[in-house]
């Protein structure tokens, strides 16, 4: 069965209410814009979204937020969307704020079958409250748990039909990590090529991580997001 699917609805069939969903991107850069839009059109609720931010006000994941589909957000910078603060104030959303490096590392740990790890980041700050602290060789660390999810929605530059992925410039960011840390991984790409067209030394995400591939229908340009 081919991993390449043409209908976004089919690609997102595996997303269910209550799921934890990883969403790639740093702001709009490298975000799976078509899949996010697909999600806003799907009837799901109580999602836990793991993403560096929750979009912008009324854009991307921000739409999902305003649709009250998000029960909890896990990220490092919600400041980019003022609606998140309002919802939080009203008790309509739970938030877990992590340092950006901890968010990235916890995803990697989840993908790599680790239970958690000790990081220096955050020691002695408000974000360490309630977290175990431990001294290792004279340095203080806090314990952070691995993150795993039901589904990952990511964006890459090219995929071959097996599912090998390469990325483009700073649109890489969280995407390769999220590809490793979910039960189902759905990727949207600019271009789909045949196996053998990507150089084996350059492949960033080997195909065993990828379940479903769709062609991106939305692209980030200088002028903003445009439909292809």
């Amino acid at each position: 069965m081919s991993k390449v699917i043409s209908d976004i609805k089919d690609a997102l069939a595996c997303v269910e209410s209550g799921h934890t969903v990883l969403v790639g991107g740093f702001g709009l850069i490298g975000a799976p814009l078509s899949l996010i839009e697909g999600l806003t059109e799907k009837d799901v609720t109580d999602l836990t979204i793991v993403s560096n931010n929750l979009g912008e006000s009324g854009k991307g994941l921000g739409i999902l937020l305003n649709q009250n589909k998000i029960k909890k957000g896990i990220g490092s910078y919600f400041t980019s969307n003022r609606d998140v603060g309002d919802k939080y104030q009203k008790g309509e959303i739970e938030l877990e704020l992590l340092p950006q490096g901890t968010l990235a590392e916890s995803l990697r740990a989840g993908g790599a079958g680790l239970g958690g790890y000790y990081t220096k980041t955050g020691v002695g700050t408000d974000l360490a409250k309630g977290k175990e602290e431990r001294e290792i060789d004279g340095v203080n660390y806090i314990f952070e748990k691995a993150i795993r999810a039901d589904v990952a929605l990511i964006r890459a530059h090219k995929a071959d039909t097996l599912g090998n992925l390469v990325y483009y410039k700073t649109a890489r960011n969280f995407n390769p990590l999220m590809a490793t840390a979910a039960n189902k991984v759905i990727v949207e790409v600019d271009e789909i090529v045949e196996p053998g067209e990507l150089n084996p030394e350059e492949i960033v995400t080997p195909f065993l991580y990828v379940d479903t591939i769709i062609k991106a229908q939305q692209v980030l340009t200088k002028e903003g997001v445009v439909n292809k």
Partner: protein, 212 residues
């Protein structure tokens, strides 16, 4: 000090910080004044790292802007010769692992042992931290740039931070429009007064104790 508009003040600070950078080194620039430091650096010998996944950041001409090539402030940047791209965990491994020489950050407050607060304000929702805490624990040296006083004229160099701290680690140097400080043995040490600033003026505008 004669009065100065905000832009001139920011450039004054940025230029002074740039003079402190000795290449070859790898520098991570925060948002705000730090971004301006790039304009005054020796670009042939100082390499810029941005935590969203690029080592070798340069300026970009308007015509060459690529929406998928940005810095941590999501502003368009260019790609230096010898640049490389990597994912977020590899990028923060560089930071946390001590492989970035200098981080230049903004701050809301600095206390008199050099601990800074730059990510949250009490009474407001705690909504964003980004890479600040990682840079604080990981960079070999941390330089802080900020205006010396708040809009209400109160000192941002305090005996103790009243905002949530970013790390227990003391920064290495602090640059304001009034003075440059080094942190030595958990004490602020005045390195120099900025042009036209007197020690009396500095004392009047600084709550934190410092030595010189």
């Amino acid at each position: 000090m004669t009065s100065m508009n905000k832009t001139d003040m920011q450039h004054l600070i940025a230029k002074r910080v740039a003079a402190e950078l000795e290449g070859p080194c790898v520098v991570n620039l925060g948002i705000g004044i730090p971004t301006l430091v790039a304009e005054y650096m020796d670009a042939g010998n100082i390499y810029m790292h941005t935590e969203n996944g690029l080592l070798g950041v340069t300026d970009v001409e308007e015509a060459d802007i690529d929406p998928n090539l940005v810095n941590a402030g999501k502003l368009p940047v260019g790609e230096a010769i010898g640049a490389s791209y990597f994912n977020s965990s590899d990028s923060f491994a560089m930071i946390r692992g001590g492989h970035v020489d200098v981080a230049i950050l903004g701050a809301l407050q600095v206390d008199q042992i050099g601990v800074i607060a730059n990510w949250a304000v009490p009474g407001k929702n705690i909504m964003g931290v980004g890479g600040a805490m990682d840079l604080l624990v990981g960079a070999k040296k941390v330089f802080v740039t900020m205006s010396h006083t708040s809009k209400d004229g109160s000192s941002k160099l305090l005996k103790e931070c009243t905002y949530p701290i970013t790390s227990t680690r003391s920064v290495d140097m602090i640059f304001t429009e009034l003075a440059v400080f080094e942190v030595v043995d958990k004490q602020l040490k005045l390195v120099e007064l900025m042009p036209g600033v007197t020690i009396e003026e500095l004392r009047a505008k600084t709550e934190a104790d410092f030595i010189h």
